[in-house]
Structures are given as structure tokens and as C-alpha cells.
């Protein structure tokens, strides 16, 4: 009995250690990958066209989903905010409430989550398929650096696009809030914008900007690294199923990371 128990415990510790080592190794690999990509991003040669193409893919082509989600987020904020503020007779603060929630919190986070779903998954799948079909090996054998050629344009695009998409999200959200708060629920239009004008200052904008920059980097990092290291995946990164599994795990990891970093950045910057 004691022997069996000892064996069970031994196996348990072995498994825990094995998992810990694996995740530590993965984290180390991804960390070095991030350093390599950032280093290549800031050192020449700089190539404009591939970065513009990626900005078009990650940024411009996400605009519709951002307009849509931004608009409805602002509308629901105004709706909920109006009924809550009315209890305290403070409907005049609706503009400030909508704008501050969007600029400090919801704009960067929701825009980032939309980009994770739309572009992050596509990046992991693209790089993963390239890894599986030896296209990345082919690049290396041609003495073309995959980090510089494939990843750097995506990193630049993430860092450039996310703040811009967040700004669009905020703006559309504020207009959505105006639509519901002012045009449907009857809050005074001047009060709506005056409250916003007097309560939003540069620190709020800065917080949103820093968050969106960090999220842009994090999303592209996780999406590219997951695809690039597909062959190291413990669950088996082979074939179409491997790509689909890795894409799913990249989306989950990127979403969770965005929310964790949102808290961390808020805690640091408040």
C-alpha cells in the first residue's frame, strides 16, 4: 500500500516537474524570440512596403469590426449608465462616464480582443502552416532571416495599428453613446460633451495609448511565436489539426494575456 502511494506521489511530482520544465522552456523560447524580433525591428535594413501591407491587413481590414463593436459598446454604456446615473440624478455625467470607460478601459481592451480574434488567429495559422510545410526552413536555407522577413512587419503593424484602432473604437463609442444618451434618452447634447471635456484629461488618453501599444506588441508576439514554434507544441503541432489547435491556444493565450496586462498596466498607471 505504502509502496503504491509512494509510486503515485513520485509520478505526480515527475509530471508536475515535467510540465513546469516544458512551460519554462516555452517561456524562455518565446522571450528570446521577442528580443530577436524587437532587435531586428530597430536595426536596419528597414523595409517600408511589407510593414504597410501588414498594417493594411491588421489595421485597415479590422476597421469594420472595430466600428461595429465600438458603436454598440458606446450605446450599451450610455444605456446602462443613464439608468444608473438617473438614480442619483446625475444624468449630466453620462458623457464623462462613457468617455472615461471607453478611453481608459474598454477601448484598448475590446479593440485588442477584436484584433486577437481577427488578425491574431490569422497570423498564427499563416506562420504555423509555413512552419509545417518547411517554408520557414526554406527561408533559413536561403539565408533570409525569418524574424526579419516575416515577423518584423507584423510587429510594426501591431504597434502602429492598435492605437489607431483604439482611437477609432473610442470615437465611435462616444458617438454611439451620444446616439443613445442624447438622441434616444433625451440627455442634453451640450451637457454630454461638456462633461466629457471637463473630466477627460491627458492622463486618461495616455493610459489608453500605452495600453494599446502594449497590447499591439503582446498580440503579435504571441500569435507569431505560437506559429513559429508550432513544432515544439507538446500537444503535437503536426498537420491541419496541429495548426488549428495551436491557433486556438494562441487566441486563448493572447486574450488572457491582454486582460492580465490590462490589470497590471492600470495598477501601475493609476
Amino acid at each position: 500500500m505504502l509502496k503504491r502511494w509512494a509510486k503515485f506521489m513520485f509520478n505526480l511530482f515527475e509530471k508536475i516537474g515535467d510540465h513546469a520544465l516544458y512551460y519554462l522552456e516555452q517561456a524562455g523560447r518565446m522571450g528570446l524570440f521577442l528580443l530577436a524580433c524587437v532587435w531586428r525591428m530597430v536595426t536596419p535594413p528597414y523595409k517600408l512596403f511589407p510593414a504597410v501591407r501588414q498594417i493594411h491587413f491588421i489595421g485597415a481590414r479590422s476597421i469594420f469590426v472595430i466600428l461595429f463593436t465600438g458603436g454598440f459598446t458606446g450605446m450599451v454604456l450610455a444605456l446602462q449608465g443613464y439608468y444608473t446615473l438617473r438614480k442619483f440624478g446625475s444624468e449630466g455625467l453620462l458623457g464623462a462616464a462613457v468617455a472615461l470607460s471607453l478611453i481608459r478601459e474598454l477601448g484598448p481592451v475590446l479593440a485588442a480582443l477584436m484584433v486577437v480574434g481577427r488578425a491574431g488567429s490569422a497570423i498564427t495559422a499563416e506562420i504555423g502552416i509555413m512552419r509545417n510545410s518547411e517554408q520557414i526552413d526554406a527561408l533559413e536555407c536561403m539565408a533570409i532571416d525569418p524574424c526579419r522577413y516575416l515577423m518584423v512587419p507584423k510587429f510594426i503593424a501591431g504597434i502602429v495599428s492598435l492605437p489607431l484602432l483604439t482611437a477609432v473604437f473610442d470615437m465611435v463609442g462616444i458617438l454611439g453613446g451620444y446616439l443613445v444618451g442624447v438622441m434616444m434618452l433625451g440627455v442634453n447634447g451640450g451637457t454630454y460633451f461638456q462633461g466629457m471635456y471637463s473630466s477627460v484629461d491627458w492622463n486618461d488618453i495616455e493610459m489608453g495609448l500605452v495600453k494599446s501599444l502594449v497590447f499591439g506588441l503582446l498580440i503579435v508576439w504571441i500569435a507569431t511565436a505560437k506559429g513559429y514554434f508550432l513544432h515544439w507544441e507538446r500537444t503535437g503541432g503536426f498537420g491541419a489539426e496541429g495548426v488549428s489547435r495551436t491557433t486556438t491556444s494562441a487566441v486563448v493565450l493572447a486574450s488572457v494575456t491582454v486582460l492580465v496586462w490590462d490589470y497590471l498596466l492600470s495598477a501601475i498607471m493609476l
Binding site: E126, I129, M130, S133, E134, Q135, D137, A138, E140, C141, M142, A143, I144, D145, Y149
Partner: protein, 269 residues
Amino acid sequence: MAAKQEKTFSPARIAIELIDVKKSFGNQQVLSGVNLQVEEGTTTVIVGASGQGKSVILKHMLGLMRPDSGQIKVFDQDIASASRRQLKEIRKDFGVLFQNVALFDSMTIYDNVALPLRERTEASEEEIRANVEEKLEMMDLHGVHEKFPAQISGGMQKRVGLARALVLDPKIVFFDEPTTGLDVLKSNEIYRLFHDTQARLRYTAVIVSHDVPKIFKLSDRVALLAEGVIQSSISPEEFQRSDNPLIRHFVETTMGPIYSSEKEETAPL
């Protein structure tokens, strides 16, 4: 298929040298002390049964895998211990035709062949166009420039892969099973193109193949990988007459009784 012609230059310099290369995956030792020399300007074919580690040797030569121990010298530079930057420099002499071709599937044929020129040289678009056109012409590829890899046949993909491998006039070209999945006609076409381009560009070729005995006609040296080591690196004629039991077994199982009887008929001794 054109027969191998006598080379007009005398090979002397060693292009690639593997010294006691060992590699294990878990408990399985795949390479247990591989030694091989490839002379500059020659064609070496690595043969062996499936699963013996032929592709593993090739990946070591390309620097895609690092050995557990041993040295892999390319023009006297050890790639087993080279840094990423050194490896990149060494690879500038390489051209590779992968088994599954590994064309960039979201790029057109033209862009695939032009990519090494765009990324590795400062050539203008006109120079790139001229070079790409020349290489595609050399491969008898016409009217496919704007097509994507999935829109052309397997044989054409191999030819595009060869054009891409040769576009920067490499010193060493590696072929991983260059005729896998192709019918006899298309295989012969690939061999003819290989023969013509090598005669023209004078590159060193390392071919991993199981297309025995056809591949012998193109090779200067045949190396058999069996039991984790290179059993020999000798001329095709010597290979077919070798007394090494592993080579004999390979020759008999791959070429069948036809070759055995031929050997008996033609053997002078």
C-alpha cells in the same frame, strides 16, 4: 535522360566534410558517427533504406539540425558550432530543393523565384526580372509567372523549386528526394534539367534519393547510409561491385536480380 558527361575540371577542394557526426532522438541513435567528404564540383548521392536518417544528414548539412557531437565543415567552416550570423553567411552559398518543394504558397511563381534576389541583393527590379526570366526559361517554364504554386503541376513545382534554388548561382545545391511523387517522364525531365544546369553553373550537388539505379547515372559518388553510418562514398561502378555486405544487400534489394546477373556478366574478375 542525358548520360553523365566527363567533367572538364579537376575536383580537389572539399566542399562539405562530416566528421564523426552523431545524433540521437530520445533513446534512438539515428547517426552514430557519420563521416563523409564531398568534393567541390561533384555530385554525391546519399542512398539508404527509408528511416535510416538520410534527411537527417541533409538537415545537418543545411544547419537546420545541430549534431550531438562531431563536425560539419562547409568550405572548412564548421557549421555545427557556428553562430546564427556565421550560419547565415555560410548559407549564402546554398541552394536547396526540398522534398515537398516548400514554395511560398501565397506568392506567385515569379515572386517565389525573385524572393532571394529581393531579400539578399541590391538588384533593381529590371535586373531581378531578367535573372528570374532566365532561370524560368532554363527550366522550360513559360506563362506561369503570375500563377500560384497550387495552380501548377507537381513536376512544374519541382522545376520552380529548382529555379529558386539556382537563382543566386549557389556553390552547393542540396536535393532532398528530387523526383518523389513524379512519374517517369517528369523524373527524367528533372534529371535532365539537373544535368544541364550543373554543367552550366558548375555547382556541387548533394542528392538524397531512393531512385536507384537511375540516380547513379548522374552521380560521381554514391554514399550508402546504413546502421547510422556512411558505409562508403565511392563511384557508382565501385558501389555496384562492392563486397560490403550492407551495400550488396542494398544493391540486391533495390535493383533486384537484373543487376545481380548483369554484374556477373560484366564483372571482369
